[in-house]
Amino acid sequence: MIKKKTQAYQFRPSVFLAGMRDGVPIGLGYLAVAFALGIAAKKAGLTAGQGFIASVLCSASAGEFAGFTLIREGAPYIIMALTTLVINARYLLMSFSLSQRFSPDTPLIHRFFVGSYITDEIFGITIAQKGYVNPWYSYGAILVAVPLWGIGTAAGIVAGSLLPASVVAALGVMLYGMFLCIFIPPARKDRSILLLIVICFGASFAASVLPYIRKLSSGNRTLVLTVLISAAAALIAPRKEEEAHD
């Protein structure tokens, strides 16, 4: 009765600082990759300010990359909305998973703010906490990593016009390196993912050379192929409960 119970979501300086510390390596990596993203944003005609704001708000590598490609192509808003929805669909899964990890009494505002900055890395360290998630740990990491993501994007936009074309092209390839690191390691562990990736490469290549289909913008091709191949994979090789958790 007398002793006040400590809440799982309570602010504790040590937790917040631990989050900031863990946000440093994430943020430094973001800085480099966001630079490559900035080069894509530059091609779409974004100013450094626009790139910074887009990155700080969205903080999504593949999602922003696809979005900038669509802006460059002048794609309609509905395509922008659909593509963003599909490409960021993995965050939906992470958000479901995160929802199970807050203590039941955690205020909605904390669920909202931690949820709004789910990225592969921040989600990863957030759910790696023992027991219930303390939002202040995530806030610490977000506060360090997300501004660096925005600064990297803005720097890429600015430097993209200062550096020689060959250097810009070389920096642009970094983003693909990041993508490979997301989908290749699971392919090693799981043959069905390996097969899926081979099919994706083949289908994506075919779509880029086949008549009619190749006239679609690359953003639209990505959207159509993602929906078709993922739906086919889900029908042919449905995941069992425990596998679908990561």
């Binding site: 802006i71 922008m80 390839v173 690191c181 997301i182 989908f183 390691p185 993922s230 889900a234 449905p238």
Partner: protein
Amino acid sequence: MTNTWISILIMWLVTLAIRVLPVTLIRKPIKNQFLRSFLYYVPYVTLAVMTFPAILSVTDNPAAGLLALIAGIIMAWLGADMFLVAGALCGIVLVISLLL
């Protein structure tokens, strides 16, 4: 012609909705197996589709992109750190473009 600010706004609102709706509203796991499986496969498919063949066109020389792709797959397969891979691919493309 579309407005860049409106496009960014749409991108942000959709991304935000995806991230916050499940964690704030729905607190039960997804039961539907098709939907679970679909959401599980989407990230791999979308990233693979965006990577190839687009990586071949990062420079005027498709061989540079192809070499970067092969090196990247090998490094990622062996479990190299994401930022090491990104840096290595950048170096490969730069060296090839300087040589040719």
